[in-house]
């Protein structure tokens, strides 16, 4: 059966991405501080504390059972002292990214299932980073954001995405295939535009843009980690969606990540445990 042609104009997609609010200055400063050695922690804590919404969200997440300090983090300064700057930057970014998109009216799009999958992929990518000696925080951010383009499509082009979801379900094909056939774009490409709009590090932007089409490479990349983590979390059934499907796997990426069976088992266990513990704090 021929798929309906609902091709999105590139200019329209770019225009919608440009309407996304910039990341809060406090988050930009936090992420920037990770790349400096002369970080003034007190000054940084004060800057973040001035953003009350961000502070509330960050403290809620920092106090989740996942971080093992439930109830002990009462200020941003506490959070940095107890959890460390890198973890606080990750926590704040997570809180902000999740709150940047409202629940959409896109029929067939499961907002909670989307975030359950995104968080599980973030934890899984972080675990894989430990096994491959790549940057764990970057892996978490890339995992969390890897499908952000799909959320943008659901928010800005709900009728079009809804039809691709319906078509993919009726023909039992992966959603990526339906997006490419019907929209003449896909969520990875749109996600790459958002990563650039938010000035994420180039490796994170590439991981988001290329997590279904991996560039040839000699060693494991962040994009490889996200690709494998995406597969694993679908296979672990962590989105809670009945109709879930494990997407096509790149054997090249799988071989570059090169997990031992023991590392794979440990990754499964830790990903499931982490995803469940932090989910409660985000009500997803």
């Amino acid at each position: 059966m021929k798929a309906p042609d609902l091709a999105l104009q590139p200019d329209a997609v770019h225009a919608k991405v440009r309407t996304l609010p910039a990341l809060p200055q406090a988050v930009v400063e936090l992420r920037s501080a990770l790349r400096r050695e002369d970080v003034a922690i007190d000054e940084l804590a004060t800057t973040i504390s001035h953003d009350q919404a961000l502070t509330a969200k960050t403290l809620r997440l920092a106090n989740s059972s996942f971080y093992g300090v439930t109830g002990r983090v009462s200020s941003i300064r506490d959070a940095i002292n107890i959890l460390g700057l890198r973890t606080v930057a990750t926590v704040a970014t997570t809180a902000v990214v999740i709150s940047s998109f409202d629940r959409t009216a896109c029929t067939g799009f499961d907002f909670d299932g989307f975030w359950r999958h995104a968080l599980a992929t973030a934890f899984c990518a972080q675990e894989l980073a430990a096994a491959t000696r790549l940057d764990a925080e970057a892996a978490f951010s890339a995992g969390l954001m890897h499908d952000i383009g799909r959320l943008a499509l659901a928010t800005y082009f709900p009728l079009e995405l809804s039809q691709t979801i319906d078509w993919a379900a009726r023909h039992d094909v992966h959603s990526l295939e339906a997006e490419r056939l019907m929209l003449n774009t896909d969520h990875a490409m749109v996600g790459g535009l958002i990563a650039e709009h938010w000035h994420f590090a180039p490796a994170i932007a590439e991981a988001i843009r290329c997590h279904h089409e991996l560039p040839a490479h000699t060693g494991a990349t962040l994009a490889d980690l996200v690709h494998v983590a995406d597969n694993m979390t679908h296979a672990l059934d962590l989105s809670g969606l009945d109709e879930d499907m494990v997407p096509p796997l790149s054997l090249d990426a799988w071989q570059r990540v090169a997990l031992t069976p023991q590392q794979a088992q440990r990754t499964f266990e830790r990903t499931e445990r982490q995803a469940r513990s932090v989910r409660e704090s985000l009500t997803v």
């Binding site: 279904h212 694993m232 296979a235 796997l249 794979a264 499964f268 266990e269």
Partner: protein
């Protein structure tokens, strides 16, 4: 770009081969585990390809029930 994806269904075509297993509720027994995994991995199974994760995940899930 590499083009080494495995297990994709043919775009625009209904799934080929035997009827796909149906979606099941949350896992409750070893048989449910096998049925649910067959459903989740249906794209690669229908293509007749062995997904490297399939046996690893199956072993992990079945050990939970051992």
């Amino acid at each position: 770009m590499s083009n080494d994806h495995h297990g994709a269904t043919v775009p625009g075509q209904p799934p080929a081969g035997p009827a796909a297993p149906t979606a099941t509720p949350r896992i409750a027994s070893p048989d449910d585990v096998r049925e649910r995994l067959a459903y989740l991995f249906r794209a690669s199974l229908q293509e007749g390809r062995l997904h490297p994760l399939f046996h690893l995940i199956q072993q992990y899930r079945l050990e939970e029930h051992a």
